[in-house]
C-alpha cells in the first residue's frame, strides 16, 4: 500500500480554499494544481481526481471568453431538426438524436394460369389475384450519450403486429458495434439489404434458406472495403418455450464481405456466410422440426408452392452456407447468391442438402447507379439524379432475375422451382417508388404429376421516411 503523505499542506490548502472562496473562484488553474498535488502524493486516487476535475469543469462560473488565451466556454448545444417525410432531431454535438421512420408498401397481383396447389395428393390452396398492404411499419431509431444506439420497428400489416428490428447497441468501440435484441442474423446479401432498397419486390427463391431475424447478440465491424458480422441467437422472437416442451433452439454464424472495388459508381462485392442452428422441440409434435418453404416470389399470391411441410422431423441441426457476388459498373449491375442448407436428423434418418441460387442484372435508363455500401456489404437507397416533377424524370431501373430452389432430397419432397422475373422500378424521388414485376414460375411436377406454373404480374407503391 502506498504510504500516506505526512505533509499537512494539502489539507491546509483545501481549508484555505474553503475559508477563502476568492482563492477558489479566482484560480481554476491553482485549484487544478492543488488537485494534481493531492493526486500525485497519493491523497486522491486517479478516479477521485478525475471526478473533481469534471465537477469543476461542469460547474465553474463564466468568464470573459474573448480575452487572449482565454479558456473556452460551454453551453447547451443547439438542436437540429430534419425531415425527409419523417422527423429527426439531434443535438449539434452529435451525442443525442432520434428519428421517427416508417414505410407503407401497397401491393396488388394478377395471377394467370394457376391451378390448385396439391401436396401429397391433397388440394391445399390455390394462387389468386389480390391486393394487400404488404408492409405498414413504424419505427424509431436513435442514439444517446454518443455511443449508445437503439432501434425499434413494428409492422402492422396483415392480421398481426410483428416486431422488426428491436435492439440496443453500443458503438463506442473502434469501428465496431455490439447489439442485443431482435436482429437479422448475418447471412445473405439480399437478406441484409433492406426491402426498401432491393431491386425486386420479393426476395429470390433461395430466400427460403436464410435464418432470418431472431433474438440474440450480434457484433459487427468494418473497414473501408470490408465488413464482418458475428452473432449468437435464440429461436424466434418469443420465449419459444411457452408450452414447456423443452429448450428452444439456438444458432450462430458469421458473414464476411470484401469489396476489391468500392467506388460510388463502380463496385465489386464478394461475400461468404455460414450459420449453424439447432431447433427446439415443436410444441405440437414434441420433437424438433424445421420447415423450409417458399412462395413464388410473390407475397400477395400467398401460397407456398415449395414446402417441406411437416416432413422434416427430429431435426438435430441445420448448417447453412452462403456465397455472394455483385458488381456495379455505372448504371449496370449484376448480383448473385448461392445458398445451401444441410440438415442432420436423428432416428437414423439420412442427412439432407437443400440449395438454391439466383442471378440478376439491373440497368438504370436514367443514369443512376446502384448504391453499394462497402462498409456494411449491402445496397442502400437509390437517389435519382433528378427527382420526378418540374421536368425531372426520376430514376428508371430495369431488372431481370433468374432464381432456383431445390427442396427435394432423399425422402423429402419439398419441390423444385425456377423463376424468371422481369422488374421495372420508377423512383420518383428517394422516398417514393413504384414497382412492377412479372414472374414466370416454373415448378417441377411432383410425384403425383401435379404441375403449377403460374404467371404473376404484381405491382407495388412504396413510400418510406
Amino acid at each position: 500500500m502506498k504510504r500516506l503523505s505526512p505533509s499537512p499542506w494539502p489539507g491546509l490548502a483545501l481549508l484555505a480554499a474553503l475559508l477563502f472562496p476568492g482563492i477558489a473562484t479566482a484560480g481554476n488553474q491553482q485549484m487544478l494544481q492543488l488537485l494534481s498535488i493531492l493526486r500525485d502524493n497519493g491523497t486522491l486516487t486517479e478516479e477521485q481526481y478525475q471526478q473533481l476535475v469534471l465537477a469543476m469543469d461542469e460547474e465553474e462560473p463564466a468568464a470573459a471568453p474573448s480575452a487572449p488565451s482565454s479558456p473556452g466556454i460551454t453551453t447547451a448545444p443547439d438542436i437540429q431538426l430534419t425531415t425527409e417525410g419523417g422527423v429527426g432531431v439531434q443535438t449539434m454535438d452529435g451525442r443525442f438524436g432520434m428519428r421517427l421512420k416508417g414505410r407503407v408498401m401497397t401491393d396488388a397481383a394478377l395471377v394467370q394460369d394457376a391451378v390448385p396447389n396439391v401436396k401429397k395428393g391433397e388440394v391445399k390452396d390455390q394462387l389468386g389475384s389480390a391486393a394487400e398492404l404488404r408492409s405498414v411499419r413504424l419505427g424509431l431509431e436513435g442514439w444517446f450519450y454518443g455511443d449508445w444506439e437503439y432501434q425499434l420497428e413494428v409492422d402492422f400489416a396483415g392480421d398481426d403486429t410483428n416486431v422488426g428490428d428491436a435492439w440496443l447497441g453500443y458503438s463506442g468501440f473502434d469501428r465496431s458495434r455490439i447489439r442485443v435484441g431482435a436482429i437479422k442474423e448475418p447471412f445473405g446479401l439480399e437478406e441484409q439489404t433492406s426491402a426498401l432498397n432491393t431491386t425486386f419486390m420479393e426476395p429470390a427463391l433461395p430466400g427460403a434458406l436464410v435464418p432470418g431475424r431472431n433474438v440474440g447478440i450480434a457484433y459487427d465491424t468494418h473497414g473501408e472495403r470490408w465488413s464482418l458480422g458475428l452473432g449468437l441467437f435464440g429461436e424466434g422472437l418469443d420465449d419459444g418455450d411457452d408450452n414447456d416442451v423443452g429448450d428452444e433452439g439456438w444458432g450462430g454464424g458469421f458473414r464476411a464481405t470484401y469489396a476489391p472495388i468500392a467506388g460510388a459508381r463502380r463496385a465489386l462485392h464478394l461475400g461468404l456466410a455460414a450459420n449453424y442452428r439447432t431447433y427446439g422441440a415443436n410444441p405440437d409434435y414434441e420433437d424438433s422440426r424445421l420447415r423450409l418453404r417458399s412462395r413464388p416470389e410473390s407475397h400477395v399470391a400467398d401460397t407456398w408452392l415449395l414446402d417441406t411441410d411437416d416432413d422434416l422431423v427430429a431435426v438435430d441441426a441445420a448448417t447453412r452456407l452462403g456465397l455472394e457476388a455483385a458488381a456495379v459498373l455505372g448504371s449496370f449491375s449484376l448480383q448473385g447468391e448461392y445458398l445451401q442448407a444441410g440438415v442432420t436428423r436423428g432416428d437414423g434418418q439420412p442427412d439432407l442438402l437443400f440449395d438454391g441460387y439466383y442471378v440478376y442484372a439491373s440497368w438504370f435508363l436514367t443514369g443512376e447507379s446502384r448504391n453499394y455500401d462497402a462498409r456494411h456489404g449491402e445496397f442502400d437507397r437509390i437517389r435519382p439524379l433528378r427527382n420526378f416533377g418540374r421536368g425531372g424524370p426520376g430514376a428508371w431501373e430495369f431488372g431481370l432475375r433468374y432464381s432456383a430452389l431445390d427442396l427435394e432430397d432423399e425422402d423429402i419432397e419439398g419441390g423444385v422451382a425456377r423463376n424468371f422475373t422481369l422488374g421495372v422500378n420508377w423512383y420518383l424521388n428517394p422516398q417514393l417508388r413504384l414497382m412492377a414485376n412479372y414472374i414466370w414460375v416454373d415448378t417441377e411436377p411432383d410425384v403425383f404429376g401435379n404441375d403449377n406454373d403460374p404467371r404473376i404480374l404484381q405491382l407495388r407503391a412504396q413510400y418510406d421516411f
Partner: protein, 316 residues
C-alpha cells in the same frame, strides 16, 4: 483512516467549491455559459452532426488523453450549421479546434477568430487543384475566352468548385456574376456562373452544352464516379490552378498557447503512433499532418482579400 478523511475532505471541498461557484453565477448549469478549462472541443460545419461526431470524437479523445499535464481531461465535439455559426463559436470560445477546407479556414482567419496550424492529408491527399474544362470541340482556349460565357460551379461552400474559380477569374480581371440558371444568358462583358450542386451534374452540363465551361478539382476529375470516362473523353481542360491544401486544422485565436503547441505536437506525431492508426482512419481517412510552411501561409493570406464583406454564411 487519515487518507480516507483527507479524501472525503477533498471531495467535500470540491463539491462545495463547485456548488459555490455555480451559486455565484446565479443560474443553474446549462443555462449560462460555463468556463471549461479541462475539455478540448473540436468542431466542424456539418449538416449531419451524428456522422461527424463519429468521425471526430476518436481524434479529440486521442488528443485529450495526451493533454493531462495541461489540465485537459476530456474531448468533446460541437458542430456548427454554417461558417457564420462556427465563427461565433470560435469567438465565444465554445470551440477550440476546427478541421475544415481552405475556404472556411480563410473565413475564420479573416474574422480574426482562428488561426491555421496544420495541413491535413485528408483521405491521404495533401493538395488538389481546380480545373477549368469545356467541351472537346468547344472554342474556349483560355480564361479570357470565358467573357460573355456561362460557367458551371458547384455551390457557394465549395473551395475548388466555387471559391477558387472565382478568385482565379478575379485575378484574370474577369468579373463573375451569378445566373439564376444555366440557360440564362450572361452579360457580354462578364462571366455568368450557375450552380449545379454536384460534380457529375457539372460534367453533364458541359457535355450537353447547358454551360460553356465548368470548374472543379482534379480529384473529382480523375474519379470515374464523379466524372464518368465516357464524359471525360468528350471534355477538355483549359486551365489548371496552383495546388491548394486539401484540408486545414485551425485553433481559435484565444486558445491557451500551451494547448495549441501540444496539439500541434500530437498531430504531427500521430502518423507514427500505432495507437493513432484507427483514429486517423476515422478522422476522414487522414494519413498525416504537416506544418504550414511560409509559402502555404502566404497563399492562405492571399485569399483573405478575395472574400466580400457578405461572405461567411455558406455551408461547405
Amino acid at each position: 483512516m487519515m487518507r480516507g478523511l483527507l479524501t472525503g475532505l477533498c471531495l467535500a471541498a470540491g463539491a462545495l467549491l463547485c456548488g459555490g461557484a455555480a451559486a455565484a453565477t446565479g443560474a443553474p448549469a446549462g443555462t449560462e455559459p460555463a468556463v471549461r478549462t479541462h475539455t478540448l472541443v473540436i468542431g466542424k460545419v456539418s449538416s449531419n452532426p451524428r456522422k461527424h461526431y463519429l468521425r471526430l470524437k476518436p481524434m479529440v479523445d486521442y488528443v485529450a488523453e495526451r493533454m493531462g499535464a495541461l489540465g485537459i481531461t476530456r474531448g468533446e465535439v460541437l458542430m456548427a450549421r454554417d461558417n457564420a455559426q462556427m465563427i461565433q463559436y470560435l469567438r465565444e470560445g465554445r470551440v477550440d479546434w476546427v478541421t475544415e477546407t481552405l475556404y472556411s479556414a480563410v473565413l475564420y482567419e479573416r474574422a480574426g477568430v482562428a488561426e491555421s496550424i496544420l495541413r491535413k492529408w485528408k483521405k491521404g491527399v495533401a493538395e488538389y487543384r481546380t480545373l477549368f474544362f469545356t467541351r472537346m470541340d468547344g472554342d474556349i482556349r483560355t480564361l479570357a475566352d470565358l467573357r460573355g460565357r456561362r460557367l458551371g460551379l458547384e455551390d457557394p461552400g465549395s473551395t475548388t468548385a466555387f471559391f477558387e474559380p472565382l478568385m482565379i477569374l478575379r485575378d484574370e480581371g474577369l468579373e463573375a456574376v451569378p445566373l439564376s440558371g444555366p440557360r440564362v444568358a450572361p452579360p457580354p462583358d462578364k462571366v455568368g456562373y450557375a450552380l449545379a450542386g454536384g460534380e457529375i451534374n457539372l460534367a453533364t452540363w458541359v457535355y450537353k452544352g447547358l454551360v460553356d465551361a465548368a470548374a472543379y478539382n482534379d480529384l473529382d476529375w480523375n474519379n470515374p464516379d464523379h466524372t464518368p470516362e465516357a464524359l471525360r473523353r468528350e471534355l477538355r481542360v483549359f486551365h489548371v490552378s496552383e495546388p491548394l491544401p486539401r484540408a486545414i486544422e485551425l485553433v481559435r485565436s484565444s486558445l491557451d498557447p500551451r494547448v495549441r503547441t501540444r496539439l500541434i505536437e500530437l498531430l504531427l506525431a500521430a502518423a507514427e503512433d500505432p495507437e493513432a492508426r484507427s483514429v486517423l482512419w476515422s478522422y476522414q481517412r487522414t494519413s498525416r499532418f504537416e506544418r504550414i510552411d511560409g509559402e502555404m501561409r502566404g497563399a492562405i493570406r492571399a485569399y483573405h482579400g478575395v472574400l466580400g464583406d457578405d461572405d461567411g454564411g455558406g455551408d461547405p
